[in-house]
């Protein structure tokens, strides 16, 4: 998606601390862009009905806006989670861009908007624009999608490194691959037949795969969080354990 795939660089210290320190800011900026590129891109594309290249340019412009306009300095963790804050900032940015492009269409602007065939194809292929009141929810969905996509990529790399690519394929078939609407998820027995494994091997491999994927998801999540509190909060939200804890 968006044609841009960047590996998440290793992190040290919280993201917000590194972004505010001039010595570490460039690398932290790379980490921020790598972590949030996909959801921001997807959100801009859907929100404004943009084509691939326009959405990429605007995504880059958004991150420049975040850093160069000093928005990060105004982030207050007491008021909102980083992801929520970023989605609101993105919405405000998208609204401004929308107003600007409308003014240009009416002839009020001077900038030229490219309407090349490729871009038009992409626009036709893009999802329906998202209404403003659904923005936070939509951003969260895209954010989560990007998180799991990055984690799956990391998990694939780990499996290759361990010499166990079958483990990745097994997880993909068991939990990721879509099944027809009238079909059901493949049973362990079906997977054993398909992969030529014993039933116990399937359960063991899947157990290991899910455990390793979980570690990859948590790594990717940590890279997206500004500090430990943010990470703990996001982790609880992801695990669904942020409801009232009573026992």
């Amino acid at each position: 998606m968006g044609g841009k795939s960047r590996a998440l660089p290793p992190t040290r210290g919280t993201l917000i601390e590194r972004l505010r320190d001039p010595a570490t800011a460039p690398a932290a900026y790379e980490a921020l862009v790598a972590a949030y590129w996909k959801p921001v891109y997807a959100q801009l594309r859907r929100r404004l009905g943009l084509g691939n290249e326009d959405a990429k340019d605007l995504t880059q412009a958004f991150f420049t806006h975040v850093v160069e306009r000093g928005s990060l300095a105004r982030y207050d963790r007491e008021r909102a989670r980083f992801r929520t804050w970023l989605s609101r900032l993105l919405e405000s940015f998208a609204a401004n861009e929308h107003a600007r492009s409308q003014a240009q269409k009416r002839g009020g602007g001077t900038a030229h908007v490219s309407i090349d065939p490729e871009s038009a194809d992409h626009r036709l292929g893009a999802s329906a624009p998202v209404a403003a009141d659904e923005v936070v929810e939509s951003f969260e969905r895209e954010w989560r999608r990007a998180l799991f996509e990055d984690a799956l990529e990391a998990f694939r790399a780990r499996c290759v490194e361990l010499g166990k690519p079958q483990r990745f394929d097994l997880l993909l078939r068991a939990d990721v691959t879509e099944v027809p609407p009238d079909g059901s998820r493949p049973s362990y027995r079906t997977l054993a037949t398909e992969f030529g494994l014993e039933l116990t091997q399937v359960t063991n491999e899947l157990h290991a795969a899910r455990r390793e994927l979980r570690a990859c998801v948590l790594d990717a999540l940590r890279a997206r969080c500004v500090d430990e509190d943010d990470f703990a909060h996001e982790r609880r939200a992801l695990e669904g354990s942020d409801r009232e804890i009573e026992r």
Binding site: R141, L152, E153, V176, H207, L213, V217, S241, E246, R247
Partner: protein, 318 residues
């Protein structure tokens, strides 16, 4: 790779779920999480009933947490009481984490129940049921150490269940701890602020008076619906109840009720409008209490006197 919303949901579920070897238990949903473990609802396929499965969370010190959960299971298994959930099974997941299977309690915690504003007498009766279970455990050398409204559940039939015995002292540890040596299992300082006795905070000797202190906090919560704060004044309007809570929550353990049974007895006296041991009442308070306790006879006497006055007035007017 682009994931669909359904695929993301599936991945979230499979990351979150647990698999119990053997196929006897079909894990269905998460019921709740605490600092140490997570409780799941599962179906016991062999007996066709719902059970609760408690599993260790990923912890920094797995060995200690594993020991704690195993001890909790053994402690519970040794306490057969209607207000203590029975343990059915103990085992290990494929990843080595300990789990135990217990009765699945349907109901609400006392903390949730109080929000529905039940009558004061009803609250005290529920409290007494919890006291019975804790007193039962204390008599067998088990001290709960983490009593609080969210660990007390009200079942569907009005029964009260005492949950989460994760940091309870087992009988074989009781003697060692009463000697005053600090615990070596992470128990020192355990408990919940507001309900944790001073000796628990400082890692001192553990005795049933620790549970008396915590239950004093529960009693204060039941009156106000607010967690008590360590060292803060109690805002309880009923003087007798305030005296009971104050005595139960004395900083000095020797000034508290000697046992949960003694605390329960005083609460029962309060409920029955009898003089409570923790409070020395003034003569007029005694009169007011006696009147309140014998309302039927008092109204009978008042009615009789009114009747006599009316008869006297009637005969005088003739």
């Amino acid at each position: 790779m682009t994931l669909s919303d359904d695929a993301i949901d599936r991945l979230r579920r499979c990351l979150d779920g647990i698999e119990i070897p053997g196929g006897r238990y079909d894990v269905r949903e998460r019921l709740g999480s605490g600092a140490m473990g997570t409780v799941w609802r599962a179906t016991d396929r062999e007996l066709g009933r719902d059970v609760a499965v408690k599993v260790l969370n990923d912890a920094f010190d797995m060995d200690r947490a594993r020991t704690q959960l195993e001890r909790e299971a053994k402690t519970l298994a040794g306490l057969e009481h209607p207000s203590i959930p029975p343990v059915h099974d103990v085992g290990r997941l494929a990843d080595g984490r300990v789990f135990y299977v217990m009765k699945c309690v349907e109901g609400t915690t006392l903390a949730q129940w109080v929000r529905a504003n039940p009558a004061p007498a009803e609250r005290l009766r529920a409290f007494l049921k919890a006291c019975d279970a804790v007193a039962f455990a204390n008599e067998r050398g088990v001290v709960h150490r983490d009593l609080k409204p969210s660990n007390l559940m009200l079942g569907r039939f009005g029964e009260v269940l005492v949950m989460d015995w994760g940091i309870a002292t087992a009988p074989d540890l009781g003697e060692r701890e009463s000697s005053g040596r600090p615990r070596d299992d992470g128990g020192g300082g355990a408990g919940t602020p507001g309900y944790r006795a001073p000796e628990q905070r400082s890692g001192g000797p553990i005795s049933p008076r620790v549970d008396v202190y915590a239950l004093g906090g529960v009693l204060a919560f039941l009156d106000r619906g607010v967690d008590p704060v360590e060292g803060a004044a109690l805002e309880i309007s009923d003087r007798r109840l305030r005296a009971i809570v104050t005595r139960a929550r004395s900083e000095d353990p020797t000034r508290r009720y000697a046992s949960v049974a003694e605390l329960a007895a005083d609460v029962r006296r309060l409920l029955d409008r009898e003089p409570v041991h923790a409070y020395r009442e003034w003569p007029w308070e005694r009169v007011a209490r006696v009147v309140a306790r014998n309302q039927f006879f008092v109204w009978l006497i008042v009615g009789y006197l009114v009747l006599r006055v009316c008869m006297f007035a009637f005969s005088s007017s003739r």
